[in-house]
């Protein structure tokens, strides 16, 4: 059963069509990737799914229910969480506080509970802190718990964003270029984490990524966008050899090249 179903979604900004007639679905428990050259409309698409933008037309269903017209926080409550291409951590807050903010929507305590420091509030808070700590351990960030998020290394910040997103206990997590700016070793580590993560946290994954090695290695299904339109979809092997994809990335000249030798095309896409 698909966790996310997007049908014929179009987004226009004034005269510019950023996303045109996109249809896409993410199966429960799967890892799905959206790729495409810069400016293809991938991040716009993420913003449509998470409620930051509203689609001009089309339908977005999460577990069969429409999320069109909902605000980002309401979409988050339906079980969708995300990371950002340009990291958006709460810089002045500590690492563990960032994760605790992710848990916000699961904390039940009210104003009176906070003011009177009721036992239930205290209990809930301690449990949340422990859970946040476990998440940090999972991402190897536990020693940094009292560090300000803005002081972390780039790679650590990317990981913290994922940890924070997972803290919301999402059904679907959207990762926007999780490996951007990471060195090969960090990327390798991240690849492993993403692979395991789906199963361990029971979360489906939709990611945007430019690192083709990572995408080909972990994705079960890939969608390719170009100029705001979906130009191809399929499993990694289909995508690797699809002439339309190669054209989008490298221009029409490369297609002839690709047709001449499939292995060549393989490397060029990477």
């Amino acid at each position: 059963m698909p966790i996310l179903e997007v049908t014929n979604v179009t987004k226009e900004f004034g005269g510019l069509t950023a996303n045109k007639d996109i249809t896409l679905s993410v199966q429960e428990g799967s890892i799905t990737a959206v790729i495409g050259p810069n400016g293809a409309g991938k991040t716009t698409f993420f913003n449509l799914v998470t409620g930051v933008y509203q689609p001009t037309s089309g339908e977005i269903l999460v577990e069969g229910k429409s999320v069109v017209g909902l605000k980002p926080d309401e979409v988050a409550k339906r079980g969708i969480s995300r990371t950002f291409q340009n990291i958006r951590l709460f810089g002045e807050m500590t690492v563990i506080e960032n994760v605790l903010v992710g848990m916000h929507k699961h904390l039940k305590t009210g104003l009176l509970g906070i003011l009177l420091n009721l036992p239930s509030t205290r209990h809930e808070e301690i449990e949340a802190e422990k859970e946040a700590y476990r998440l940090l351990e999972y991402f190897d960030l536990a020693e940094l718990l009292n560090e300000k998020a803005k002081n972390l290394s780039y790679g650590a910040q990317r990981k913290l964003e994922i940890a924070r997103a997972l803290a919301t206990k999402p059904k679907l997590i959207l990762l926007d270029e999780p490996a951007a700016g990471m060195n090969p070793k960090e990327t390798k580590e991240l690849t492993d984490i993403i692979k395991k993560m789906g199963e361990e946290f029971g979360v489906s994954i939709l990611l945007i990524e430019h690192d083709m090695k990572l995408v080909m290695e972990i994705s079960e299904h890939i969608y390719v966008l170009d100029h705001g339109e979906k130009i191809a979809e399929g499993n990694p092997d289909d995508i690797r050899t699809n002439p339309k994809v190669i054209e989008a990335y490298l221009g029409s000249g490369a297609v002839q090249l690709g047709q001449r030798s499939e292995t060549n095309a393989n490397t060029t896409v990477e």
């Binding site: 998470t50 930051v52 605000k71 980002p72 926080d73 309401e74 988050a76 409550k77 969480s81 995300r82 950002f84 958006r88 951590l89 709460f90 810089g91 002045e92 807050m93 500590t94 563990i96 506080e97 605790l100 903010v101 992710g102 916000h104 929507k105 904390l107 305590t109 104003l111 906070i114 003011l115 420091n117 509030t121 808070e125 802190e129 422990k130 946040a132 700590y133 476990r134 351990e137 536990a142 020693e143 718990l145 009292n146 300000k148 924070r164 997103a165 803290a167 919301t168």
Partner: protein, 428 residues
């Protein structure tokens, strides 16, 4: 060598306690014995700052601090004829500290620049003043007014609630507006409320307009009327204690975290499921509550209020307190509010008197235009610019809560231990 020894001595807990006790005893005694010693009074207040930096448990600090404020300060200053004026200053400090703490929720934690904060103070003050004078009979269809002095205690809550409602009413249109505009819109609202209070003497006379409301019924408790500054000092202190307690609770709860998250990055906060408008409204409403409560105290203490007490300058004064002390930092804001209030009420007037004295004696000639009492705006302006440029974190910067790694780990260790025990058993 000497220096190291001295530092070592000063960092020792017990030597700190001894020195501190000595300091408090000397200042209290000199305050008690001297006829009028502003310096001793200020030094005694400063002992609280020293206390803050001492190596003691938090609870101990609270108890000592409470003891100084509730018992020592009123006793020590009761010695001379200036008793009531000391208490007056201390009361004003308390009122401003509570207001600054309220604004700190809005500006410091939630990152919303509110430039009309005094509006909530005004709402609180008018809510009591109207009902504690015959003013209310102009429009109330039932009941007889003024209400008795006992109603003051209920009005502390009503005033807080009225201010919170005003906060929400202002917030609903304002908080849809993006960041920078907020400052202007709140500034506008601050002015609107003042203009409205200034003109609400017709068609129905609610506020008595620019004439103000006088002869506000003094509060009473157990049949005693509270009229002297030292009475209000204790009332203020109790409310202040509640305020500090509450803001600390808020800051370290999920609420405080959601405010800070909104301040740090609205889009990410929303993506984490935090509703923006609701979170900001709550900051507005809760911040306003403390201001409203102190408004009630202010109206009762002054026994007279008019719109001139609630000008833009007041809003900016509270903002200066927050920026100076450290946005988002409770101890910082307390210090900032105390410093600015004392500067306003004591230092500037003392300086002016001194300058006037010198001018009278012909020693120097300072023209009236440059008298220190008139320099308030210049000083505030300089403070704002200097702090924003060189120390935006303020005098006592905000600190994040430190989590104890060991405590958070316990769970897993326990499981590990169980596992090891199980393995050991297997081995046996």
């Amino acid at each position: 060598m000497m220096k190291e020894k001295l530092i070592g001595f000063l960092q020792n807990k017990w030597s700190q306690v001894i020195l501190f006790t000595l300091f408090v005893v000397i200042t209290s005694l000199s305050l008690y014995l001297s006829q009028k010693s502003v310096v001793a009074f200020l030094l005694l207040l400063a002992s609280l700052l020293i206390l803050y930096y001492m190596k003691l448990k938090n609870l101990t600090k609270w108890i000592i601090g409470g003891g100084i404020l509730f018992i020592l300060l009123p006793m020590a200053s009761s010695g001379g004829p200036a008793f009531q004026s000391y208490m007056e200053v201390a009361t004003m400090v308390g009122i401003y500290v509570a207001m600054a703490l309220g604004l700190n929720i809005v500006v410091g934690l939630a990152g919303l620049l509110d430039l009309g904060f005094v509006a909530f103070f005004a709402v609180g003050a008018y809510s009591y003043a109207i009902f504690a004078t015959p003013q209310a009979s102009n429009f109330m269809p039932f009941g007889s007014y003024p209400l008795g002095g006992e109603s003051f205690w209920i009005f502390l809550i009503i005033g807080g609630i009225c201010a919170a409602i005003a906060g929400v009413l202002i917030g609903i249109p304002v908080l849809r507006v993006k960041g920078d505009y907020l400052a202007i819109v709140t500034l506008g609202f601050g002015e609107i409320i003042r203009i409205v209070f200034n003109n609400l003497d017709r068609p129905v006379n609610f506020t008595n307009g620019a004439m103000g409301i006088s002869s506000v019924t003094p509060p009473s408790i157990f049949g005693i009327q509270l009229v002297f500054p030292h009475h209000f000092y204790f009332v203020t202190l109790v409310i202040l204690a509640f305020t500090i307690f509450a803001v600390l609770r808020f800051e370290h709860s999920k609420l405080g975290r959601s405010w800070k998250a909104v301040r740090e990055n609205e889009i990410a906060a929303q993506a984490m499921g935090i509703p923006l408008v609701k979170t900001k409204l709550l900051a507005f409403a809760l911040g306003a509550t403390f201001s409203g409560m102190m408004g009630v105290v202010f109206a009762a203490k002054q026994a007279f209020i008019d719109p001139t007490s609630f000008t833009l300058l007041e809003s900016f004064t509270i903002l200066v307190m927050v920026v100076l002390g450290g946005m988002g930092s409770v101890p910082g804001v307390i210090l900032g509010a105390a410093l600015v209030t004392i500067l306003n009420l004591q230092v500037l007037t003392e300086l002016t008197n001194w300058v006037n004295q010198l001018t009278l004696n012909g020693i120097i000639n300072v023209p009236d235009a440059l008298s220190p009492a008139k320099m308030q705006k210049l000083i505030f302006g300089l403070l704002l610019v200097i702090f924003a440029l060189y120390r935006p974190i303020g005098l006592i910067p905000a600190k994040n809560k430190k989590f104890d790694e060991k405590k958070l780990k316990t769970n897993r260790l326990a499981i590990d231990r169980e596992n090891t025990v199980a393995i050991d058993k297997d081995n046996v």
